[in-house]
Symmetry: C2
DNA sequence: GTGAAAGCGCTAACAT
DNA sequence: ATGTTAGCGCTTTCAC
C-alpha cells in the first residue's frame, strides 16, 4: 500500500542503500544527479518514511515527550505552543502526558514516554522527580521549564522574576509612588521568593525604606489579594500603590479598593504579574508584567534539541525576561499603552528575551 | 541495555513467542503458571516493550493524532484534556499538531501524522479539509470535534447549542422576563445559528413574540457585545434581559449597561454562553451555559477508539449538552448558585452528558 | 560513490 | 498450549 524505499530503488534502478542515504541524510556524499533523480521519484511517488522502522533501526524518533501537570493550567497552553513551534521547525513532534500533580502519575508518564520511543523529555512546571532511576538510567536528554518548587537545577528554564518585579516597582516609583505595598504568593514557591526579592532590591536601589507592614502574604487567589488589601487599607498609613505577585491577587486588590469606596488608579495604583488573559478584559484593565511562557517553552525546546543532536549535556539554568505591560490600574495614562496587546500570540512573541548566565 | 523479550525468554526458559503472547495479548490462552512466571520476571527485570518494533510489525501504535488550530485557543485545552484522559485510560497517547487556521498547514499536519504511525486522527474545532485525498487514502479512523463551519458531517461531536440556548432563555423567562434580547455571533458559525434557533424556539414555546429589534448581530468580542447593547438600550422599549451568544459579548453587555448608569442584574439581567474562566472572576459574575468541551473531547475519543478497534465506521453526529450555571448577572439570587463552581475540572466533569441521535 | 546484507525487537503464521 | 521462524521498513557496517 504505502510506498517504501524498495519501490523507489526499483523505480530508479539504484540500491535501497543509496535511496536511504539520499532521503535520510541530506549530507551524505551522493552524486548530484543520483540525488536529484531519487528525490524526484520519491516526491512523485509520494514517499513517506515509516518512522517506526526508522526508529527501530536508529533509535531516533524525532518525537519528544512533554510531561505537564494539567494542560488546562493557565500557563501550560502557551508554553506548549512555544514548544510545539520549535519542534515543528525541526521536524519533531511532541506527546503530552498529564501527571495531575501526582508523583506516581509522573513516574507512570516517564515510563510511558521511555518505552514509547521519545528522544527527550520536557518537564513543565511542577516536577517532583528530579531523580527518577528509570529516567536516569534511560539517559534521555531532559529539560525542566518553570520548576516551581525545590532548589534550582541544571537544564532548566525559568522566568526572570527578579527582573520582572523590579520592572513593576520601578514603574510605580517613576509614577511618583514611594509607599508601595507588596502582596506575595505562598512562601514555598520560587516565584514568590524571587518576586519579593525584586521588589525589595528595587526599593532599596531607590533608597526607599522597606516597611514590613506593607508586605502582605497571599495565596495566588482572588480572595487572598482581597484580604491582603483590606489589611493594607486598614493601616494607619496605607500605601498609595500595590504590587501583587500575580494578576488574580491584583484583581482582588482592585475589588477591595473599590469596595472601600476608592478608585483605581486615582486613589490607589495596582500592578499585577503574569499577563493573564483576563487582565485585558476586566475593568479597569490591569497593568502587569509578562510571564514569558511562550518563550520559555521555545528556549527549553531549543536547548533540548541541541542536547539530542550533540548528546546529553548539563546546561546552566536559563532565565527569560518578560516586559511590563502598561494598562489602566497603574494610572500611567494613555501614552504608554502597549500597541498590540490585543493579540496574545504576538504579545508573547514580542517579549524581550535575554539569556543571562548570572546577575 | 534495555531488557527485551529475548531476555525474559532466556530467564524463564520459555520461548520468545510465549513471552510475547503473555505480555502483548492478555487474552491469549497460556497456562496460568507460565503466564504468572513470565509476568513476574518481566516485572522484576523492568521490561518495557519497544513500541517502535511492535508498531513496525503490527501496524498499530496506540497513538492518535490531534489536529488543532492553536493549543492556545480557549476551548482547546479542556477539550484536549478530555481526549487525553480517555486515551490514557486505554493506554493510548496523543500527538498534537497546530494548523493555525491554515489549510496548507492542516494538510502538512495530516501528512506528518500519517507517516508518523498514528492509529487515528481527531480534528479539533475548525477543519477545512473534510476531503483530503491522502487522508482518505490512508483510511485512518477520524473524528471531528466542534467543527465550526460547513455542513454537519458524520463522525463528529458538537455541542447541543439549541438545548443550551433554550436553557438560558427558559431561565430568564422563569425569572419573569418577557422582553429578552439576543446578541448573536457571526452568521457563518454553526454555534450562532443554532443558539439563535434555541432562543427563538424557546420564546415561541412560551408564546412570547419574537421582536426583530431585540435580536442584534455580534462578533463574539467584548466590543461587539458592548455596541449591540448600546443599540438595545437606545430602543423605545428596551429589553429587561439580554442573552448573549458568548461570555465575552455578555461581559460587553454588562459594561454597556453599567456605562448607561444602570445596574446588572437589578435593571437588566444578562446571561452568557460558554462558561469561560473569566465569568467567575468578573463583577458581577456571569450566569452562563457550559460549553461541554471536556466531555466533547472524551466522547469523540471513545468513538475514535471504537473505530480503531472495530474498523473504521461512519457514525451519526453526536450532540453533547452543557448545563446552566447560575451566578450574579441574571438576578436569580443566592439560592440557585452552583455548589462547586470554583473548580473548573470538576465543573466540566459534572456536566450533563446526553447523546441524542436526533431531536 | 554505490551496493549487499545484517539485523533493530517484535508479532503472527505455521508447526508441533 | 507452546515453539520455530519469517519478516515488518529502515539504517548502517562492510565490501568494492
Amino acid at each position: 500500500m504505502s510506498v517504501k524505499l524498495e519501490d523507489i530503488a526499483r523505480e530508479t534502478g539504484f540500491s535501497i542503500a543509496t535511496v536511504s542515504r539520499v532521503l535520510a541524510h541530506s549530507d551524505y556524499p551522493v552524486n548530484q544527479s543520483v540525488r536529484e533523480e531519487v528525490l524526484r521519484v520519491a516526491h512523485t511517488m509520494g514517499y513517506k518514511p515509516n518512522l517506526a522502522a526508522r526508529s527501530l533501526r536508529s533509535n531516533r524518533t524525532n518525537t519528544i515527550g512533554i510531561i505537564v501537570d494539567d494542560v488546562m493550567s493557565p500557563f501550560v497552553p502557551p508554553m506548549v505552543r512555544g514548544i510545539h513551534d520549535c519542534l515543528h521547525e525541526n521536524d519533531f513532534l511532541g506527546v503530552i502526558v498529564n501527571s495531575d500533580w501526582d508523583p506516581d502519575q509522573e513516574q507512570d508518564a516517564i515510563n510511558t514516554l521511555i518505552s514509547r520511543p521519545v528522544d527527550g523529555i520536557i518537564f513543565v512546571e511542577y516536577s517532583h522527580l528530579v531523580h527518577s532511576e528509570i529516567l536516569e538510567e534511560s539517559n534521555k536528554p531532559r529539560m525542566f521549564v518553570h520548576r516551581i518548587f525545590g532548589s534550582p537545577i541544571s537544564n532548566s528554564v525559568v522566568p526572570d522574576d527578579h527582573y520582572g518585579a523590579a520592572l513593576a516597582v520601578r514603574h510605580l516609583i517613576s509614577l511618583g509612588h514611594s509607599r508601595i505595598a507588596y502582596i506575595n504568593g505562598p512562601e514555598n514557591w520560587h516565584n514568590s521568593r524571587t518576586r519579593y526579592l525584586g521588589y525589595k532590591d528595587e526599593l532599596e536601589s531607590h533608597n526607599i525604606a522597606l516597611h514590613a507592614d506593607l508586605v502582605q502574604p497571599g495565596d495566588w487567589e482572588l480572595e487572598g489579594g482581597y484580604q491582603a488589601t483590606r489589611n493594607l487599607l486598614g493601616l494607619d498609613e496605607p500605601p498609595s500603590a500595590i504590587f501583587a505577585a500575580n494578576d488574580l491577587m491584583a484583581l482582588g486588590a482592585v475589588y477591595a479598593i473599590q469596595d472601600a469606596g476608592l478608585d483605581v488608579p486615582k486613589d490607589m495604583a495596582v500592578v499585577g504579574y503574569d499577563n493573564r488573559n483576563f487582565t485585558r478584559i476586566v475593568r479597569p484593565k490591569i497593568t502587569t508584567v509578562v510571564m514569558p511562557v511562550y518563550e520559555m517553552g521555545r528556549v527549553a525546546t531549543e536547548s533540548l534539541l541541541e542536547q539530542i543532536a550533540d548528546g546529553r549535556q548539563e546546561t546552566e539554568e536559563i532565565k527569560v525576561r518578560g516586559e511590563l505591560i502598561i494598562r489602566d490600574t497603574c494610572g500611567a495614562g494613555e501614552v504608554y499603552k502597549a500597541r498590540d496587546e490585543l493579540n496574545p500570540k504576538t504579545a508573547y512573541r514580542r517579549v524581550l528575551l535575554n539569556k543571562q548566565p548570572e546577575e
